[in-house]
Amino acid sequence: MARKKSVTIESLLTPDNNNFDMVQILDEEGKVVNPDILPDLTDDELVDLMSDMVWSRILHQRSTALNRQGRLGFYAPTWGQEASQLGSIKAIEKDDVLLPGYRDVPQLIKHGLPLYQAFLWSRGHVEGNKYPEELQALPPQIIIGAQYVQAAGVALGLKKRNKENVVITYTGDGGTSQGDFYEGINFAGSYHANAIFVVQNNGWAISTPRSLQTAAKTLAQKAVAAGIPGIQVDGMDPLAVYAVTKKAREYVVAGNGPVLIETICYRYGPHTLSGDDPKRYQPEGSMEPWLKKDPLIRMRNYLTEKGLWSEEKEQEVEEKAKEDVKAAIKEADAVPKQKVSTFLKNMFEVAPASIQEQIDAYEAKEAK
């Protein structure tokens, strides 16, 4: 049930909080249902947030098409999760650290990863994972839960360096069943370290429904086991996701320790494009109620009402996204083929004899 009024996000940001009702600001029509917690965003910032989401929707569409054409490799659809992904990352500063899961490529791009590198990651090319020093992020994590324990370490590092920054990490609903999920939030809690843990609950872990992961009524309440605040938010509502993440960030950088955020969302696509088909396991008609909750619809209505958005503006963003994708694919195509000798050189700072021997052998082979 959506929270209507008189509960501030601050009041939820305490380890003693036992209120895991869903925080919502915009309803499905884009009406503000919770004006007290409306985030402090300028008109430009609101337009940016909408543009990010539209851009990401196009990226999803194009990524799907490019995957079907064989021009991309591994791809995990993001369609439907725009508010969860872009709303949260918008609340994050450039010097904050991002540890994404495999579905969290849009956040990486917003955090500074060039799009062509994201495409190279999808294809399986090392150049996609060569992150410049200033990009505070790791490549998408394939081992579900590993990003959580690593985030605890980054969070403690930030705290030890006295940085007013956070690490933000993401997993899905299925991921909350992993040991590393619990260890990560528990370690960060134990050290009062600078972490924001996001659970994007899209209802399904491949074919396994959220209800089969746990008998817990919410995933946010798993925070209680770590003694840290947990907040459930409408993950189809960009303003609510942004507001909660922003307040959580303030809470964390003030030295209070980590926060767990559960975003209730839905992916309209399959788990990945590697052969998954939700029709095999989702009851018929599962998607329809969620289509009405589309984050783009409510944000579009909200901004149009305020005179900040129009069909033309949306088309403009869509065109820009398509051009960005086209340029990035071209850039990815131009990246030279990988060499085994380069892989060998990337194993250790100083190649042990056994590696050096193989470098020499492969370099000779590659010179032919």
Binding site: I143, G153, K160, E349
Partner: protein, 325 residues
């Protein structure tokens, strides 16, 4: 210079590096105030503070993740896994994550992590404390596995491991912790990683070994010398990657080789050494390569250790078999 046990040499190395580099952090279960279950970190928290030497919650995977995250923030984590039998809880952090980071990020990030952990039989521990699991990590690309056999090497190798910019698993044999003393310089020094040592020179047969089996090999060599058999002992020190050059050089001289490990036959790194020798030194061999290893069972119940663990007698027998082939 002072006579020190292996565990004192470990503490010395940790002390030296905490002092030399403010990014060095030591953490694990009970390594703080308690000084570690074997006293390896004794006094370090008192001297360097809780910021540098601290306890963790009881969760090995969390400790592995903590190491990775701290290394990403520019620290040099020296984490402890209380007993290496507990490595299964953190296999992903070590070989699935830390060992791969430099490679997967094309050299743009690296993780200077040391995982210290006790292991090894002969001290009647409960289950899953003593297992020889070095072979598991040795098979994983991107990580070094170091096993010292004496106090001098322990200090020098650990300082090298901490200064290394790639992950190192540093395994400390429990039976060697306090079983003998040796001269250990007070000042800092390093012993190179990925470099085997010729512990004893000989001419008739090369015994290639590591860890507690080095002591057994020395005992065996002393006895064999009385019978006129001259044994050269190679202590691998770093069991992965292997120092193939030193091994091959020795076998080319002695023309016979016996590999000795405490781990089960199907485990350890013995098979890898044999493979390298087969590939590189077969024309020097006058006998098949001999192997001394534990039987392929689960690590024994405490009371059966003496019957199960390989020892000097097993080495003597195998050396004679090889020399008299």
């Amino acid at each position: 210079m002072a006579q020190k046990t292996l565990i004192q040499a470990v503490t010395d190395a940790l002390h030296a590096e905490l002092k030399n580099d403010e990014n060095v952090l030591i953490f694990g279960e009970d390594v703080g105030k308690n000084g570690g279950v074997f006293r390896a970190t004794q006094g370090l928290q008192d001297e360097f503070g809780e910021d540098r030497v601290f306890n963790t919650p009881l969760a090995e995977s969390g400790i592995g993740g903590l190491s990775i995250g701290l290394a990403l923030e520019g620290f040099r984590p020296v984490a402890e896994i209380q007993f290496f039998g507990f490595v299964f809880e953190t296999m992903d952090s070590i070989v699935g994550q830390a060992a791969r980071t430099r490679y997967r990020m094309g050299g743009t990030r690296h993780l200077p992590i040391v995982i210290r952990s006790p292991f090894g039989g002969g001290v009647h521990t409960p289950e899953l404390h003593s297992d020889n699991l070095e072979g598991l990590i040795a098979q994983s690309p991107g990580i070094k596995v170091v096993i010292p056999s004496n106090p001098y090497d322990a200090k020098g190798l650990l300082i090298s491991a901490i200064r290394d910019n790639d992950p190192v698993v540093f395994l400390e044999h429990m039976k060697l912790y306090r079983s003998f003393r040796e001269e250990v310089p007070d000042e800092d020094y390093t012993v190179p990683l990925c470099k085997a040592a010729v512990t004893r020179e000989g001419t008739d047969v090369s015994v290639i070994t590591y860890g507690a089996m080095v002591r057994e090999a020395i005992k065996a060599a002393d006895n064999l010398e009385k019978e006129g058999i001259s044994v050269e002992i190679i202590d691998l020190r770093t069991v992965s990657p292997l120092d193939v050059e030193t091994i091959v050089k020795s076998v080319e001289k002695t023309n016979r080789a016996v590999i000795v490990q405490e781990a089960q036959r199907q485990a350890g790194v013995g098979a890898a050494v044999m493979a390298e020798l087969s590939e590189r030194a077969i024309l020097s061999l006058e006998a098949p390569i001999g192997r001394v290893a534990a039987p392929d069972t689960v690590f024994p119940f405490g009371q059966a250790e003496n019957d199960w663990l390989p020892n000097a007698k097993d080495i003597e027998a195998k050396v004679k078999e090889t020399v008299n082939f």
